[in-house]
Amino acid sequence: MKVLSKTLAQLTKGETATITCFTDDLLALKLMEMGLIPGEKITLQHVAPLGCPYAFEVNGTLVSLRKSEAQLVQIS
């Protein structure tokens, strides 16, 4: 870890950020297929009743990620 940057897991409900990069290769591919492309805007829309998983809106789609998966997405 060079710099401790923010990840998707740190967003609060309703907050929007821009995706910068991923810290896991296999996951990155899946995430990009779901529309999570670096440079795109992403918003945390809902949090499941028990605090996990999260639902993000990106590129007009609602994508649900577990906390562990959201931690692998760097944002700015």
Binding site: D25, L26, L27, A28, L29, K30, L31, M32, E33, M34, G35, I37, P38, Q45, H46, V47, A48, P49, L50, G51, C52, P53, A55, E57, N59, G60, T61, L62, V63, S64, L65, R66, E69
Partner: protein, 717 residues
Amino acid sequence: MSHDNLFITLQQKFTLAQQVKVALIGNPNCGKSTLFNALTGLHQKTGNYPGVTVDKKIGICKALHPKTKQIHSFRLIDLPGTYSLFPKSLDEQVSFDVLMDETNTDYPDIILIVVDASNLKRHLVLATQLIDLGRPCILVLNMIDAATENGIEIDVTKLAELVQVPVVSCNARYSEGIEEVKKSLFTFAQDIKPQQSLINIQAIVNKNYADSVHRSVNQTSIYASLLNQRNHLEKDEKLKEFNEKFFTGFESRDMLFRFEKIKKITLDCVNYTVARKDLKTTDSLDNVITHPFWGFIIFIGVLFLIFQSIFYLAEFPMQWIEMGFSFITQKTRQYLPDNFFTSLLTNGILAGLSGIVVFIPQIALLFGFISLLEDSGYMARVSFIMDKLMRKVGLNGRSVIPLISGMACAVPAIMSTRTISNKKERLVTILITPLMSCSARLPVFTLLIGIMIPSNYRFGFFDVKGLLLTALYLMGIVVAIGVAAILKYVLKTKERSFFMMELPVYRIPQVKTVLLTMLDKVKVFLFDAGKVIMIISIILWFLTSYGPGSEFKRIDLEYTDAIRKTTSDSTKQKLTIAMETQKLQSSYAGHLGKIIEPAIKPLGFDWKIGISLITSIAAREVFVGTMATLYQSGDKEDNLSIRQKMMQEKNPTTGKLVYNFAVCLSLLMFYAFAMQCMSTLAVVKRETNSYKWPIIQFIYMSVLAYGASLLVYQIFK
């Protein structure tokens, strides 16, 4: 096959009016299956891809040639939903193999790419990959109405020009534009030029390497050759060693360049006029549906509704089916001579058939509901709100519905596990579902509890019988969860567990889709699981109707003679019942009961209970009927008389009552845990596509049942 040849061969197929193979492919939630249903109607069938449990849907579509006015027939295959041509799951690998392997029997002549027009940008990732294969492709913009409603205007002509393949728009849900889709297939009847690659291949992989791969693999385009090579690397270690370095970062670069290209394309031909309405509606609905309090309330309400329907609503048609079959059986016995074939027909085949058909109402109802939940978008929310809870024991949020349905019947419940995409989580759900207390256990439980506990025995305000029954249900749930937690560590998987999934926008479910799903599932059960149930049913018939040696003949002679001699009807009936009892006791099943007696003695069971354990493999409720025959109770449906007979039964050597508290409790444990249901085993065999898992399940549940029975009997005796 080379690029140009492919198009020429296809053109010839049209000229000769030969059947053309078409594959429907698209992202999950693009409405692909709705389009498939609209194009094929009832001319479709479901099977399995060889070696894997992925549904294979094939259908026939007839269309009129716009010029020659001849009817052409197209063979459509509905491929599993795929996000890209980089397969990561079993489903995606199946789609890839069908699309890319020329030797595959389903290798398509035309690729029908289905995209959600209201989600064009993301769906074009797969679409542009497919176009870059250089094969005959048609791009179908589905849900064009949703796009228009949400202020997305698409210039179809311009889009076709940019992606170089024919583009048609439709609304499969409302059967709009289906004729245009059919017509578009005939584009390839004319001389048509193959398209160029949409992205610059040199930007994602070394040019010399790409050329050399293309020379050796010789697919329809450089990109197709590369994808094929990449797929081979996974299987061939030697090939991987030399080629791996060229593919490092290949997928990510491909995605990024593709997305850049898509952005340019959509900028030129898509106009966003207003903010999206459907997302807003979905968002406000989700505020309630995923709410910490209301979310669970709604979910419990939905579960309650499903459970009540399959438990009570299915009861009526099930009774009609049973009544119908017993009527036919009776008439057959009446009009056919009493011989081997009549016995095989009535007690073997008809009994087996009745045991299969009786499941139809429950299967149809459960799948009606599941289809409604899937189609409306609610099913994805079930996973969303239940994930954290279920993950702890190695299950998926979607496991909840099969498990709750299992309390009515494990057969439709296990069939419904197909909605769980993770292989391991699905397998665990299949393995534990039969532990949930199903409706077939109820008659056994009530009979035994009735023997164990005197009437009006109360504990405070509660009837002890009711309390015990509730405890048995709860025990089923607790043990199921416990077994899941153990299996989580025992089962190994190569597949990495992802949760990541799309939460589709809410839509009003479609009646046609719901009905077709119900029909499809009933058909699959009848023809796939039905075979196994029939075979077991005939084996059980043989075991109970025939015996070793001459004893059977002796009983037959003795009683037929006596029956013929008497004139009184009631004596006749008594003699017949006594004959049945003797026959069952000296049948192969009876002998088996005696053989297993030493093994079940520690559980407090005698050989008569042993016979019931064997016949109960057909279905748990058969226990009651077998008990009736064994204890010469005339009316098999009359619970009270069987109960009285059983309560009076004494052990011939000790003179003590056989069905004491400890034995009954031990039997309850046995029936709660043992896998005594051939239909469930048949369905598990079908759903796991192997004999291994039903056998493992049978063994682990038997061990569990034996252990539990042994424990309670040794404590309470």
